[in-house]
Amino acid sequence: MNRGLVIQLIATGIFYGTPMAIAALGELLAERSGVLNLGVEGMMLMGAVVAFWVSRDVSGPNGLVLIIAVLAGAAAAAAVSLIHAFMTITLRANQVVSGLALTIFAGATGLSSYVGDLANLGGNPGRHIMNAINVFGLKDVPILGPIIFNQPALVYISWVIAFAIYWYVNKTRQGLHLRAVGENPEAADAMGVSVTRYRYAHVLIGGALAGVGGSFYTLVISSEWTDGITSGAGWIALALVILAFWRPAGVIAGAYLFGVVSALGANLSARGVQLPPEVFSALPYVLTIAVLAIVSSGWGRGRFGAPAALGVPYARDGG
């Protein structure tokens, strides 16, 4: 029963959707503070390459090395996001241009590729892999076993992150300040909230989460580094934030939808249904375009729109 197509698709969809979910949760925080960061793909690649490097060169027990590797990936991506924060918050540069530059700078033909060459990471299998956990020994329970009780640790961590972000944004004082900074920075400033500090903090956390998402590719999915290994997941993460109307639960659900689509081709092919592989390769991106079209023309726009100050630099003198 647990080998059935639908159950396996959902389980694999959660697996493939998780890195996009984590990166999108990070982008959600940055955008909630009013900073659009189009550099997600580049930050994910930096996280992926650095996490893999650390996992290869640090020795120790499997679990500990993986934790250090994920944290290193997060730190590397946060460092890249610092460039964006400085450009857009301190220098008030155009956020779109700076974000795009970040993806090119750190991306598949940029810094991440250089780091991979420098450390000779290509073509080597990883020494540490994050395997699925058999939670409470329940992995063979019908239906829920493979879906919920047999995933790698980062999947469960992503659920905790999503809930924490929901709680933080909606139920805490700092969350209220964050929303104020994203919706109406003048008002927040007048309340005594430091717009600059909030924006820096959330762009950096967003970068770190993009790095964690990236590390999922090299520590969990593939356990190997190749240039551009995220193959567009960062762009999908950006679309996810919009699709989810800037809400964490929506990000998780949307990411799993993309995950299912990513897993569809291989699962159908293994069951004797052959469609052109190009169709399946293109599906996540087709879905991205469809989602953006629906959301932008949509019914929920008025109620669930973007943070009002998204993309707008803030200067106290109104400059």
Binding site: R3, G123, I129, I221, A270, G272, Q274, P276
Partner: protein, 387 residues
């Protein structure tokens, strides 16, 4: 990487452009009354100077796939000929850079150049380098209908190795199913997949053999995605024909027995490694180097497998002990027959997936039928993608 026999779409345009360029060059050469194929025989070189030999790789030499297998061949050549030769190697990703690299090697006096698998021939036309011996893996005449006289090639057709692997896989699977991942649906990947299926059926006629094609050689994540698909669908042992050991990692993670290919990949997932179909390209490279050294080099085409000793069957897997003694004996017997050339995986009665009789009892497919294979055998679940 790269056993691209027929490449669809984009590459054919590149090939077309290059072919046009090649024609223009040929025209210019003809106008000046020169012959492009002249001087492809022996090379005059001073007895004392070492022969300059170059290896041009497509991926990193530690890719655990074709490049690694070839690199092992290079090391064999270096060990054998020592100071008689001077060896260099280079990694050049597919593209017009291949031509630049070959040109600079030729200019630096390299007389014997080994090119990796298929993709490099999309760019490098050996006919433009008369007087230099070029060994191109799987030369299929992309740029030029017939192989230039300064070129040699070899094809590895591992249907026999995968037949043995199929026998082993069928005897250890706990689900009554096995699966194989093909790279692109070219004839030798189909022959290898069919060999795997026939071997599995020889041990268990009721076995379900799942077949999936990724239409991609190099991407580890695509191959791993395919492995997850096969295992999700119930495959209890898997083999793969793509480059690198990615699917082996996935199998090991899920505790599923797996078959390595091309090079010793055990390390990526040792605990559920079952067996391997391993290459040994050294004899081929030694032959070319020896001939180039003695001035007797001639263009040749080799179809190699277990019979030639260039493929071996690795039984060092941790799970090999789970293969029943009876099956082990059958595998050993079959291996002897393959190695001595007394049997092929494709002996009749042989039926295609559609049920059509391909070969009658007492008859086997001949080598042309194997190298032109375009069907899956009966009992395989899966379809050959178009293109």
């Amino acid at each position: 990487m790269s056993k691209h026999w027929k490449r669809a779409g984009g590459s054919s345009r590149a090939a077309g452009l290059t072919a046009t360029a090649a024609m223009l060059v040929a025209l210019v050469v003809a106008v000046f009354g020169l012959s492009a194929s002249a001087g492809a025989s022996t090379t005059g070189r001073a007895a004392s100077a070492p022969l300059k030999v170059a290896f041009l790789y497509e991926n990193a030499t530690n890719d655990l796939g074709w490049d690694t297998a070839m690199y092992e061949g290079q090391q064999g050549v270096v060990a054998k000929f020592g100071s008689k030769i001077s060896v260099t190697d280079k990694v050049v990703p597919d593209g017009p850079e291949d031509v630049t690299a070959v040109k600079s090697l030729v200019a630096a006096g390299y007389k014997l150049i080994f090119l990796t698998a298929f993709n490099q021939q999309l760019y490098v036309n050996p006919a433009k380098f008369p007087g230099v011996h070029i060994v191109q893996a799987e030369y299929v005449g992309i740029l030029d209908k017939k192989m230039p006289s300064n070129t040699s090639t070899y094809f590895t057709v591992d249907a026999d190795g995968f037949y043995l692997a199929g026998m082993a896989a069928a005897s250890v699977t706990k689900t009554g199913q096995v699966g194989i991942i093909c790279g692109e649906p070219i004839s030798d990947n189909l022959a290898e997949s069919n060999g795997f299926a026939l071997g599995a059926q020889a041990v268990n006629p009721a076995i379900k053999v799942r077949f999936t094609c990724t239409n991609n050689w190099d991407s580890v994540s695509i191959a791993q995605n395919a492995a997850r698909g096969l295992i999700n669908a119930g495959a209890g042992a898997i083999a793969f024909l793509t480059t690198g050991a990615g699917p082996g990692q996935v199998a090991a993670e899920k505790g599923i027995p797996w078959i390595g290919y091309q090079t010793q990949q055990k390390a990526v997932g040792a605990k559920s490694y079952l067996a391997g179909v391993l290459w040994n390209l050294k004899p081929l490279f030694l032959k070319d180097t020896q001939q180039a050294l003695s001035g007797t080099w001639m263009s040749h085409t080799d179809y190699v497998s277990m019979t030639e000793g260039t493929t071996s069957f690795d039984e060092s897997g941790a799970l090999w002990k789970e293969v029943p003694a009876k099956v082990k004996a059958e595998i050993a017997a079959k291996q002897k027959l393959f190695e001595s050339g007394k049997a092929t995986p494709f002996s009749g009665p042989l039926y295609a997936q559609s049920g059509k009789l391909i070969s009658k009892t007492g008859y086997a497919l001949d080598s042309t039928q194997v190298t032109d294979m375009n069907f899956l055998v009966k009992g395989v679940i899966g379809t050959i993608p178009k293109g």
